[in-house]
Each structure stands twice: as C-alpha cells, then as structure tokens.
Symmetry: none
Subunit: 214 residues, 4 copies
C-alpha cells in the first residue's frame, strides 16, 4: 500500500533532482529566515490556473489563497470560521504584503455554475451554489443578457467577479487603511489557458487589457 499517489512521488523525485538541487541554498535560507513574500495572489482551485506556474514563481515569492472562483466575501466580524478572511489577515497584518492580486481565469467551473443557476442561491447543503451566490446579483444580470454568447457571458462574469472581489477587499478595514496609506496596491488579472493569455485589469477604468511584455 503506497502512502502517496504514484504521480506525486514521481513529481517529487523530479523536484528534488531538478529545482531543489539547483536552488537548495534559497530553500535553506527561506527556512531559516522565514517567508517575506511581497505579493498575495488569490486564484481559483482550477488545475489549469496555478499561479506559481503562470508567473514562474520561485519559493517564497507568492502567498497564495485558492478557492473556487477566486472570490472574496465581504468583511464579516462574526464568530464563524472564515478561511478567506484568515488568509487576508495573515497576508496583510502579519506578512505586510505590498500587493494583492486577484486572478480570475477562463472556463471557470464555478462561474459556469453561477450562471447556470441564474444567480439564485441553491438549496442547503449545496456548498458550491451557496458560495457562488456571493456574486448572484451580477450573475443574474449577465445570465439575462441573451445577446451575448455563452462564452462571452462566462468571460464577462469571470471579470466582473474580480472587480466585485476587489471591492470586497476594501471592506476589510486594515486593507482599506493600508491602501490609502500607499502601503498596499490591489490588482486584478485574468488568465486563459488556451493561448496562455494573461490580461491585467486597468486600475483606473476596470477594463482588462493585455499587458505590454517588452
């Protein structure tokens, strides 16, 4: 009986012979001195949207929260268990990151589910439905836009939800305060796996644009 799936063991062996062997000093130093990432990246669980791959990031570079649909709920200081809020608090108050990037992506199953249900919260016990209902107003508006194709509606809601989550980030008092003090910058991005296209949100207009890569 193996204690890990075989494909992970194969991958780990490659890692140790390759990347770890090449960068072991950096790993040892990160262990000794602790992490100090400048950027928090919020992405989807989707297997085609790994931030460390897309941004070719090394160890210690990105503090990464991943949930379905890369959503941020609004600030709610109650007694519930909020994994998203705990991660934000750790990034902002403890690590004092300089950047938070929310990255949506194409062909997102969570967004598709939100559109399919037309923005209505689902029955109790349907965790995806409940979770995606965070954007149900926007989903309802987009779902009714019958002149757009299905793919256009998905892309639209994927980008709307990034802007929606950026707004929710600003409901956290310490995020708002640090942004106003110029100590923290909030960014939006959207990635599509097919052509490897990365789009960055224009922070003045909210539009998504291809960044210049020169």
């Amino acid at each position: 009986m193996s204690h890990l799936p075989e494909h992970l063991l194969v991958g780990y062996r490659n890692f140790m012979k390759g990347r770890y062997a090449a960068e072991s000093e950096r790993y040892v130093s990160l262990a000794r001195e602790g992490q100090a990432p400048e950027t928090m990246l919020i992405a989807c669980c989707d297997s085609r949207s790994a931030p460390e791959t897309i941004f070719d990031s090394g160890p210690g570079e990105l503090f990464v929260l991943r949930n379905v649909g890369n959503l941020i709920p609004p600030f709610e200081p109650d007694q519930e268990f909020h994994s998203t809020s705990a991660a934000l608090e750790f990034a902002v108050d403890v690590l004092k990151v300089k950047n938070i990037v929310i990255m949506g992506h194409g062909r997102c199953g969570g967004i598709r589910a939100a559109l399919a249900q037309g923005g209505k919260p689902l029955k109790p016990g349907d965790f995806i439905g409940k979770w995606m209902s965070l954007i149900h107003t926007a989903a309802a508006a987009v779902a009714s836009t019958s002149v757009m194709t299905a793919t256009e509606r998905e892309t639209a809601l994927e980008r709307i939800s990034v802007r929606y989550s950026l707004n929710n980030l600003r409901t956290f008092p310490q995020i708002k305060a640090r942004e106003e003090a110029g100590e923290l910058t909030l960014y939006g991005a959207w990635f599509d796996i097919s052509a490897g296209e990365l789009w960055a949100m224009n922070r003045e207009t909210g539009d998504f644009e291809r960044p210049s890569l020169d």
Copy 2:
C-alpha cells in the same frame, strides 16, 4: 501606472517563452476538453509550500485548495459561505477526483499562532485565531508539553492537524461514501522546505514517514 507588479510580468514572460512554448499543445487541449485532475491537493497559503513546485506538476494535474494551515472544518450544512466545503464538493461531485491529499508543512505560521494562543479561541474580528481554533483542543494538548522544544511542538501540531482534517473530510457524506466504495483515497503529507523533505502519512498508523524514492 503598471497594472501588475513587475515581478509577475517578468515571471509571465518567462512562462510564455519557456513552459508554455514547450507545452502549448497540452494547454490548448486542456482548454478544449476541460480539466480532469485525478488529485485534489489541500495545502497552506505559505509561499514556501506550492504544491505544483514540490510535485513538479503540470497544468491540469492538481485541483488545489489553499488556506491558512491547510485545515478542513467539519461538515456543516448551514447557510454560511463555506469556501472549503465548496471546493471539496466541486472536486468530489463534479470532477470525481480519485485522491485527496492534505499537505501540512514545517514552520507554519498558522500553527505557530494556534500554539501561541494555547488553544483558546480569540476575540471576534481575529480571523486567524478563530480559524486556527478549529484545532484548539490539540493545540492546547501540545502547547502544554513543555519538555518538547518550540519547533518540536510545531512539527507535532502540524502533523496532528493533518490527521484532524482527514477525519473531518470523512464527515462529508459523499467523501465517506466514495471512500468506502473504493473510488476515493485520502492521503496525508508533510513537507519541510529546508532540506526539501517530504513525509507521507502511513495510512494505517497515522505516522509520517519518508517515502522510498527508488
């Protein structure tokens, strides 16, 4: 005004010239056919614990949930927003993954916070404290073991919390059902960045052991 942090743009350029150029067919195919990962991996947000790096995983291989301390709360079918439960539901009910791996890691800031508070839930508005209080009973037991060093207590709690979260996974009816039907296997792992050490949980005893890599 740049619309993305400079280090991400640099990394994205590397990705496009390197990995994407080499594997573009796989990316196009993953976009066309959708994701079908066999493994869900639950890891910490920590910047030194990226699953795709440690397991040298390609696009489409891992469905990844990342939260502080890689914790799974118990099943609670209420009306709250449960990002963790939504991700589990997506992985199990929609993607029908064959494996779920919970990977803890050394030097975990969330675990350290849980030990520092001695297992007591913190005041409202302290999201890290509230979130980590999921393991407060274990944290209290370990925190009182004064004959262990601080690092030994952390390592112990990091591994205990993996076992705790594996138990909570089994409180989700569909996970329990699929595991009993032999359609899903649950795994535990622990990674320490310094020496690149990966430990796999022995599924019979709960102990963490170095996997044979031959």
Copy 3:
C-alpha cells in the same frame, strides 16, 4: 563444548583476516601508547545502534558507554555503585576527552517501556522500570498527549531524554567546569536504523536536525 558462540568465532576470524590484517600497525601502536580517544559516546545497548558501525569508527576512536536508553542519572556522590558515573569520570578526568555525545535512537525498547508505564516508577525488582523512571516526568507528559501516534510519542521521548541526560551531565562538577573552560563540548544525536537517518541536536535550540553531509 565450544567456549564461545559460533557466530562470534566466525566474526572474529573475519576480523583477523580483514580489518586487523589491514590495520595491525595501528593496533600495535594503540596497545603500546594507550588509548587517547577525543570523543566519549553514550549509546543504547540496542543491537541496531552500534556507534562504531554508524560512525565507521576505528580502534581507539570512541570511548563508549552503553546502557538501556542511553540515560545519564544526575550526579549523586554517595556510596552506591554508579557505573555511569564511573565511566564519565574515567572519560573526563583520566582520558580528558574533548567531546561527549549522547546518541538516542528510534524504536527504543527502554523508551517504549517508560511510555507504557506512563511515567510511574515500577515495583522493586523491576530494574528496567526503575532505571527508565529517571525520565518519568517527561514520560508522563508525553504519554498523555493522545493526539500523537504511538511512534510520534516514542520519537518525542527519545529526543527529550537526550536533552534530559545532557542536562544531567552538567550536574557533574568536573564536566560543568571543563565545558565552561571551553575544554569539553556536549552533543546530542538521534539515529534511526530504518533509513539510516542520523539527526544532530542543535546546541542552541535543542532541536534535532539532519546534518549537512556535503
């Protein structure tokens, strides 16, 4: 009637044809000039924990005390027969060793016995119980940590007992004096036979770490 077990005679013949033949000058010289080992090594009687094997040591290199659980009792200048104290006195006052290393090991039967009895001293005539009760406070603390597996509790106590014995070494006046004068260094180590893993105690933190072997 043979006067030695056959396996020892076979081994001795191998020794004479192999190692002794190759190093006979060193043996002759060690006989003529006496021993002058720089290092005293305190290890368990366990048949899987032979210091000369693990450290590939030649004749004259290690002054070796072996008892169950590699324990050092505190300094007690009474009229009893103290084999451990006599060995320390010989190593420090007569041989003037520069290093004392206490090496614990995995799967230690003595430690297991200490945990099984929950730290309570046993009845008179139970020598293992009485001897291992030297660490009964630590054993009781570890034994009650039910969130750890049996193996995790054993490993924890194996390492705790090395630190405990190092502290007891310092209750011997001449050891304390020579250490403070910079003439003697005290070390802790832990070996596990399965993967041949050696861990060295960090002398500042008390943690056990894999030594770099480069």
Copy 4:
C-alpha cells in the same frame, strides 16, 4: 557552529555510502521487525575493545552493555538506579537472548586503577574507585603477589574479574533459572588489542585459551 564533531560526520558519511548502502534491506527489515539478537555482550568502554569490530558483527547481532571494566555487580533488588541490572533484565526477560558473553581486555584502565588502590574503596565522589571496588578482594590478593610483573598482575585481574562477574550473573534469579533450563549459556572472553588476540574462557576449568579458528 557544528552540531557534531567533524570526525563523526565523516564517519557517518562513510557508513551511508558503504555499509548502509550495501545492507539497506537488512536495516529496513530490522526496523520493521524489531531486534532479536541471540547474544548479549558485556564489554569495557575502552576505545580499543569494540565488540562489533572484534566480532565483525552486523546490525541486530549483538545486544551490548559497556561499562568501565565490564563488571557485573551482584543482584540487589533495592530502589537504586541500576543500569547494569536493567540491561540484563532487558536482554534476558524481554529479548530472551541465548548467550551472554563477558569480554575483558588487556591494558584495562579500570583494572589498573583497582590494582593501584590495592583493593581499597576510595573516598566518596571517586566513582571509578567505588565501582572497581566491586573486585577489591581479588584486587588486594593480586596486588600483593609481588612475584608477578605489573603486566602479569593486570592480566590476571582482568581474567579474574570476568569469572567474578560471571558468578554475579548467576545471582540474578532469572539468569540462574534459564541457565539451568538449558536456555541460556554464559561465556567469558578476553581480548588483547596488540596482536588482536582473542582468548575464550574454558567453561569447565575457568582457564583462558586461544580458540581454534579452523
């Protein structure tokens, strides 16, 4: 600051590349199945008298007690900490060894100390004197034998002390019982490093003889 003496790290590296690499299956199996040595060997701490070297023994073969002068005190079921008795109890009652071998050696510093003090117990705090006073009657007798050379007196007392300790072994009820039941055999041996000479005690006469090695 290194956490182990350099000569031990060098030796450990040799062990891993050499013996461990060649015998790793045996090590793994010994970890999984536990130790089951047939022979307990009681030897001196002296750096020139390592049983695993002299008998070319592999892992798992010898359960080894080492103290100054390879002495066994008589059975004393009191409340003191008896490291020697604990080791005997473990070997006989737990491991159920078939053989116990007491091996004295030439040029033994403990024996020399016993002769120098003429068999008189020393002042409190002199642990070597107190420990070696176990054989003070024999030491006094030999010390007064002025027609023997110093080396002859040492060799004589080294061998007398092996017989004395063999007798003490028989004061332990379970050792006496198992020997009488034919389940345990007691042996004496004496090794001199210079010429690599091993002598075995004739169990009928008590004489030390060179064993036939053919």
